[in-house]
């Protein structure tokens, strides 16, 4: 009897062990297999940020690349924008990041390529990437002369406005305000129809931060284009800067003037998408390319345009414009050649043109020579031509905490939790940490 039950138990035990082992091996073997070294099939993965559910231009371009190169397979990983930086950092740290990663120039953001390259996560790129780096901003792309991100775009960080929406809201002959008085009049006109001039995602730091930067273009950088360098050298602080105080005061004034939609301090990105595509708001502080994505959900008469935020009394028109999207290659990638070939393809004129059509962002290699009449960029052509622009300050700032303090602080201004002095002091503390 003992012998019999013992062998039964042993049989069950062996079966259980085999089943457990099989499950374990199945789990282990399901990880990605990037490039197969035998000639022919090539595959790599590509991570990029998305702010909505509309098709990303990166997805379309990846599909196009696969059509032109049937032996290549690209696994795309669209990742939510509001947690993008920490997601890719965690993946890089854990070793399971994609081969090609969308990053941003500089060090002022968790997804900034300088920080990632410093930690050894990115592969140095070749001459093509080097040639695309805009003059004067090499420090945002290079360490020791090696470029770690290939710029794709030239983005205007300003207001994107829909003239079609103004019509839908019942505002006749809407013209973009060129002075603050005209702006507040436009706010009143929009609020009278039950809508708002601006759709704001008050609870999303990337949007509040971008708004603050867009306004700071005329209040801070128009007078002192080298303000960031002064701060780096310790010659000034946020708390001492009248320009930054003016910027934050403008935001408070916009809120009190009814320029934002009701409940804006709690709005997320969906508030902007819904407001602009649904016709209840005229504009938003979004990257110029986002207009094209939203236009896909909006009716064709939306007529988006990139407009500069008006300067204060006696101020000079100025906008934020710089490359914000770069492609980098993971240093631990096993498909570097395939990834590099994809980046090379992205830099070609045909693809730059396609990128422009799909994303709405100006192509980095061609924006200076393009004829922008009739496009959404027509209102800012003169500012670009006269060089009245500077790159996004957040790319230049030394760590992500400064930009985070700004984005969170603006929400505090909207809810009344923080004063201007407190927000600027927080930014200084974050800078010096």
């Amino acid at each position: 009897m003992t012998q019999h039950s013992r062998s039964r138990v042993l049989r069950h035990g062996v079966f259980a062990a085999t089943a457990a082992g099989a499950l374990l091996l199945a789990g282990c073997s399901s990880s990605d297999t990037p490039e197969e070294s035998d000639g022919g099939a090539q595959a790599f993965s590509f991570t990029f940020a998305t702010s909505n559910n509309l098709e990303s231009p990166y997805q379309t371009l990846a599909d196009l690349y696969m059509e032109e190169n049937p032996d290549v397979t690209i696994t795309t990983n669209p990742t939510p924008n509001d947690k993008y930086g920490e997601t890719i950092r965690t993946q890089l740290q854990a070793g399971n990041a994609s081969d090609v990663i969308q990053t941003t120039p500089g060090s002022g953001d968790a997804r900034g390529l300088i920080g990632l390259a410093d930690a050894g996560f990115l592969e140095p790129l070749g001459d093509t990437a080097q040639s695309l780096v805009p003059e004067g901003s090499e420090s945002l792309f290079e360490i020791d002369g090696k470029v770690y991100g290939q710029p794709l775009d030239f983005t205007i960080g300003s207001v994107v406005a829909s003239f079609g929406n103004a019509g839908r809201m019942g505002i006749a002959d809407f013209e973009w305000p060129e002075s603050m008085d005209d702006l507040y009049a436009a706010c009143d006109a929009a609020a009278a129809t039950g809508g708002s001039l601006f759709a704001l995602a008050g609870a999303a730091p990337p949007n509040t931060g971008l708004m603050a930067q867009a306004i700071s273009a005329t209040r801070v950088y128009a007078e002192e284009p080298d303000w960031n360098q002064q701060r780096l050298d310790g010659d000034t602080t946020f708390a001492d800067s009248d320009g930054w105080k003016d910027t934050l005061q403008t935001i408070i004034d916009l809120n009190e003037g009814g320029c934002f939609q009701a409940g804006s301090e709690g709005g997320g990105f969906d508030a902007i998408t819904n407001g602009l595509s649904g016709g209840t708001s005229i504009g938003g502080f979004i990257p110029s390319g986002a207009a094209i994505e939203i236009a896909k959900a909006a009716p064709p008469e939306a007529a988006f345009a990139v407009e500069p935020f008006p300067a204060g009394d006696g101020g000079t028109p100025y906008i934020m414009a710089s490359s914000n999207y770069t492609l980098s290659i993971n240093a631990a990638s096993k498909a570097k050649d395939a990834s590099a070939a994809f980046l090379e393809w992205m830099s070609e004129d045909a693809q730059q043109q396609k990128y422009y059509e799909l994303s709405g962002e100006l192509p980095v290699s061609a924006y200076k020579t393009m004829d922008l009449a009739g496009t959404i960029y027509e209102p800012v052509v003169d500012l670009l031509a006269s060089g009245s622009y500077t790159s996004l300050p957040s790319n230049v700032w030394p760590n992500p905490s400064v930009y985070d303090s700004l984005g969170v602080g603006v929400q505090g201004l909207l809810t009344g939790q923080k004063t201007i002095e407190q927000v600027l002091a927080d930014m200084d503390t974050a800078w010096d940490q």
Partner: protein, 319 residues
Amino acid sequence: MTGTVESETELIVLPKKGARRGPEAQQPRRSGLLKFGHWWWALPGIILVVLIHYVATAVGGFFAFTDWSGIGDFAFIGFDNFVKIFQDPTKIAALGNTLFLAFASVVLSNIAGLAIALGLNRGLKTRYVLRVLFFMPVVLSPLAVSYIWKFIFDFNGPLNAMLGAVGLEELAKPWVADPAWAIWTVLIVIVWQNTGFAMVIYIAGLAAVPVEIEEAAAIDGTNLWQRFWHVTLPAIRPAVAIATTLGIVNGLRVFDQIMALTAGGPAGATETLATQVYKQSFSLGNFGYGAALALLLTLIILAFALVQQRVTNGRPEES
């Protein structure tokens, strides 16, 4: 090659047939499968627990004393991170929020859970169905629950619409972005989901209370409240201890609900130690600082767990 096999001559004593054996086999005879158990069979499980829980926690605790950014190299900085925590008013506020959410959620969910358990203890015909209904929120994903509540609290969502429908438009506000109300929205979601859990613990506790005692008290002329306070409550004291221990330890760790509803906002009004750990370590690249916050949170939870252990074990069993 001489291969000499050493062999010793041993004296082997054969037991007499039929005679009782002396001391049995070294190990006591156990029934069934346990016959084949050995202490070292638990070793793989023990190793896994040590690695995943204790070694990982120790490594994280080590980084609390460095300035690591999460990537790249780091330097040892001693207690600087901890000094920074206690000098930063936002971190003290986060500590306050952590304790508030833990205690308030325990008190509210336990009172509500006990009330529902008492109501569904006996008598009601539909009590089994109702018990299932009240427990269902517990099995849902906290993140999914939080997103639905976020929609409810949205400025254009059902709550404000309902307030408008009954003529209370002036009360409508962006609930999750209101500095005063945001923490209460988080509390409501936590209590909504965890009341069912407290309820099942109390139902189990109440089931062990003999009906005769309550009947005897009723015969002696006590009213409902006196019966509850003097008879029922002392009898379910172990259940209260268990429910509050679990509640406090879980309440101190709350993360999903806050991140989904307010992300720590507005402007840090609903930040707790757990959300600050995430933000500092991963969003802002201050891994060492985040690890210090995590270590602090661990010590606080450990302190409360020990206190509760004392309270539950120190009490003699009342039979």
